[in-house]
């Protein structure tokens, strides 16, 4: 831990410019880039800020709580001589903090002498362990065809009005370390949960709190809340504070940590706001050119390292503006994360929960966590076959909408039936239903058995002989 300590405590009275959440201070010397400052307004109230740019005799400061009420002459800025650090301790589980890590639950400051820089440091690629252990979430569309592994970052791409919060809550409640299909389930190998809310409504935060309470997980959850009516600039720090605690728990306390970040779209907007005020050259949709690197500096804080048994698994939630997956936030997120779970509006309308749109969803690491000795030998090919068949269903549906179902060939009609059953029986499950991996595989085979054997080219002939239950006697 490199503590950055320089001559702290220097104080400057009066600022030269205030613009949105940005304040420019002149007459300060020896200011460090990225240093934390404490700002006192004329009524004596304190707020925190951070140095974004330093020049000779001036510093540009971003004020976390916004600049409302600050004046040119009456503002005092004290430079603290260190980058932003938060206290970290195991006792922070079960507690609630604001976006900067200050307790919100009326409890005391965490008792610890361990402070860590919220920016973290990049994990050396040679120090990582490649993720291989799958997490059983009990949800078929995830365990079966988009398997989540320990140490993976897998976002939920959703839209306004869709049940992403329920899905995230269900994942958090049901997640256990995956077993080989058929092995006895052991209850609750514990995950610690770090939850960060950025710009979400009070109801959403409440929903998660209730859900954690009901599942008895609350004592294992640390919540960092920056709600919709909290200062937007704080949102820049909130996920970083959460991840800093997660890193401490995973790499120093050897815990398995599940990090839920919601809603990253609001984070992006806060970042854009600061960038605009600073007059930076925008790239797409007004977002700054460094959005990719900025997002990566958080998403990449996921994984496993060789010196600890612990792990960090991230589930960021993004609501796609206008359901547009090419919007810079989901787009750049998708380039960094190891796959994505996409929720579909049409499935949601059809009353299917969870409305996971299987085709655009993907888990990049899935291939390394499933198959022989991990789930079951046929799992990878079974998954590819389900995907291929469901993709074909979409083509058949398009055709049926033009020429009518009656005109379809016999095989195509079977695909239509398969598609409907796939959505009703495989994708659809209740909020409380916790399916084992063998149950998920069984449902999949039952559905594949609705198709002629000849259509199943992704699975092996041996697998067809064992698992295929259809009445397709012809071949």
């Amino acid at each position: 831990m490199s503590e950055v300590t320089v001559q702290g405590g220097q104080e400057v009275v009066g600022v030269s410019r205030i613009e949105g959440p940005i304040v420019v201070v002149e007459g300060a010397s020896n200011v460090s880039y990225d240093e934390v400052v404490e700002i006192q307004d004329s009524r004596g109230q304190l707020r925190r800020g951070r140095v974004l740019e330093v020049g000779e005799g001036f510093a540009v400061i971003q004020v976390f709580a916004g600049s409302t009420g600050l004046s040119i002459d009456g503002t005092r800025v004290r430079f603290l001589g260190t980058t932003l650090h938060i206290p970290v301790a195991e006792e922070m589980l079960g507690r609630i903090f604001d976006g900067l890590g200050t307790p919100l639950d009326g409890g005391p400051e965490p008792l610890t002498d361990r402070y860590m820089d919220v920016n973290g440091r990049p994990i050396n690629p040679t120090a990582r362990i490649y993720p291989r252990d799958y997490i059983q979430t009990g949800i078929s569309t995830i365990d079966g065809v988009n398997t989540l592994l320990r140490g993976q970052k897998l976002p939920l791409f959703s839209g306004a009005g869709m049940p992403h919060d329920q899905l995230a809550a269900q994942i958090v409640r049901q997640a256990t370390l995956g077993k080989v299909a058929g092995a006895p389930q052991t209850e609750g190998e514990d995950f610690a949960i770090v939850f960060a809310a950025m710009g979400v409504k009070n109801d959403v935060a409440d929903y998660f709190r209730r859900s954690f309470t009901e599942s008895g997980a609350l004592t294992r959850v640390a919540m960092f809340l920056n709600l919709a009516d909290d200062p937007p600039v704080e949102r820049i720090v909130t996920p970083r504070a959460a991840l800093t605690l997660a890193e401490y728990l995973a790499y120093e306390r050897e815990m398995h940590v599940l990090v839920v970040l919601t809603d990253m779209t609001n984070y992006g907007e806060a970042l854009r706001q600061i960038s605009n005020v600073r007059g930076e050259v925008p790239s797409r949709k007004g977002y700054p050119g460094y959005l990719y690197s900025d997002l990566a500096s958080m998403y990449e804080r996921t994984g496993r390292i060789r010196t600890s048994k612990g792990s960090i698994t991230q589930i960021p939630i993004l609501t796609m503006p206008n359901d547009d997956i090419t919007h810079p936030m989901p787009d750049l997120t998708g380039y960094i994360t190891e796959g994505q779970i996409v929720l579909g509006r049409e499935l949601n309308f059809a009353g299917i929960y969870p409305p996971v749109a299987v085709l655009p969803s993907l888990s990049r690491l899935m291939k390394d966590g499933i198959g022989k000795n991990r789930t079951r030998d046929d799992h990878p090919r079974w998954g590819a076959q389900l995907y291929a068949a469901y993709a074909k269903t979409q083509d058949v549906r398009a055709l049926a909408s033009v020429i009518g179902e009656e005109e379809l060939s016999e095989v195509d009609q079977k695909y239509l039936k398969f598609g409907r059953a796939f959505e009703r029986e495989f994708v659809n499950q209740s909020f409380t239903e916790n399916r084992t991996i063998e149950r998920t595989l069984e449902i999949g085979w039952k559905l594949l058995s609705m198709l002629p054997k000849k259509e199943l080219t992704r699975v092996t002939l041996d697998e067809i002989a064992i698992y295929y239950k259809g009445d397709d006697a012809a071949n």
């Binding site: 490199s2 950055v4 010397s29 020896n30 200011v31 460090s32 880039y33 990225d34 240093e35 974004l52 740019e53 330093v54 020049g55 000779e56 980058t83 920016n119 440091r121 990049p122 994990i123 050396n124 690629p125 040679t126 120090a127 990582r128 490649y130 993720p131 790499y251 930076e280 050259v281 925008p282 050119g289 460094y290 990719y292 690197s293 990566a296 990449e300 804080r301 600890s308 997956i325 090419t326 919007h327 998708g334 380039y335 190891e338 796959g339 994505q340 655009p360 990049r364 690491l365 390394d368 995907y387 291929a388 993709a391 074909k392 398009a398 033009v402 020429i403 005109e407 000849k454 080219t457």
Partner: protein, 589 residues
Amino acid sequence: MSDQVGTITWISGPVVRARGSRHVGMLELVEVGTERLVGEVIGLKGDQMTIQVYEETAGMQTGAPIYGTGLPLSVELGPGLIQSIYDGVQRPLPLIEEAMGSFIERGARFDPISREKKWKFTPKVKVGDEVKGGAILGVVMETDTFEHRIMLNPDDAGTVTWVAPIGDYTVADTIAKVKVGKEEKSVTMLQRWPVRRARPFVNRRGANIPLITGQRILDTFFPVAKGGAAGIPGPFGSGKTVTQHSIAKWADAEVIVYIGCGERGNEMTEVLQEFPHLVDPRTGRPLMERTVLIANTSNMPVAAREASIYTGITIAEYYRDMGYHVALMADSTSRWAEALREVSGRLEEMPAEEGYPAYLAGRLAEFYERAGYVDNLNGTHGSVSIVGAVSPPGGDFSEPVTQHTKRYIRCFWALDKSLASARHFPAINWLDSYSEYLEDVGAWWREKVGKDWLTMRNRAMELLSEESRLSQIVKLVGPDALPYTERMVLETTRLIREGILQQNATEAVDAYSSVEKQIRLLELVLYFHERGMAIVKHGAPINLIHDLPVVDTIIRAKSTVTNEEMHKFDDIQKQIDEQMSQLDAEYRS
């Protein structure tokens, strides 16, 4: 130790301004601040210099010193590069881990190439020999099978006055002395070369040998030549990285340089953990023993990401100069371009398209033009082939990086989201992709497999584009409305798509197809087509052909027939004959 040449006056992220420009040169390597972080001078104006810093600048203050080095940003070249993993400015990551733990701290300084390790040097010149730049002075075995040729710096030339006898030496030991003009120079096995300057060669050769990757859609349909440049653009999740990994594993190059530029940490770890266990089909040695990795993941400092591409290509050129074929993967060039954009933005330069600097196209050209199949200074010949991944925002190929890249590559492998969604991998769209090397490598195929590859390949492409036209009609009126001859085309193209184009990188038999297997599969499918077409023209119903058992056999052949079992294809051909003949007979009677 270097002297202080300036004082910091302004800091914003990776960009620092300082006074003292008189004492440094453009693109000089400097050390920044009390922690002596690595930086490079990227602008000089009046007394001001602008520096991009390759490490995190948080905590740095104005007034802190700048130290000059007098050298441009360079890489160290010598035995020991192979099997190394470096960051973007050639710092060895395993040593950083050893010294600093699992996280990368600032101010790490390690020699990229070990000064202690001894190599068994065998001289190839004798006293009195006239040597030119690039001349091979001797060799060492860098791995059990790889001969590393120790070359004279390309800028030097003279007479050998002393050469070390066979024996074990470190890279710091003098292995020869060369009289250059009046001065006698000691030569070691270690060279420094500025990353932004291409290493010289005599002249370019034509690129007419394909880089064989074992990937059917690449080798058979869109081949890249040794010394050529290819681009793989695609939206996220379409399989850029898997394709790059497959090429890195199976390409028939002697050295692979893999640059993970602004990508995921887990992906580099995957390569690190997987490559030592995979066996190179040509040498029987672990794949790692021909690989150099440059890992500057997305959360590592952005300026070092910009440098990583140059670090990688300079190492690639060095091995080319020894007379080897080198393949370089850059994943992803878009992240490199974004690093340019970020630094440019901090410099407040006037942006061109989408905030990218106006010199983006020029930089891309400089990079891709360092690919080539060349005659080296020392009389050998070697090549650098570049495969650059492009990550267009939203999968939109009209964005600046994809568009400019297209100007400098001759082979375009367009990845397609809808293919990826249907789990058709590699998700390379055969209608959007192209290769300009087709004619160039035709002769090689004729010589190698004795078959007219280009005609067959073009026939298959013809069928595929016919399929695309027919499927428009099918979408409107359904397949039943098509005549049997056209439906026969659809049957065949299904075989092409599922039996040839789709390839499973995770399955042992299917992951690598020899060229013989590739051409035989193609031949079989086209044979199936000709036979089927003949029968259909006699009026036989198409569904009987669709139901032939051999159809399934052909689709599965890619993963049931290994590269060594070529005779099995003859059996399949026999099955086609039998089943088709039977059908023909049945129908006619």
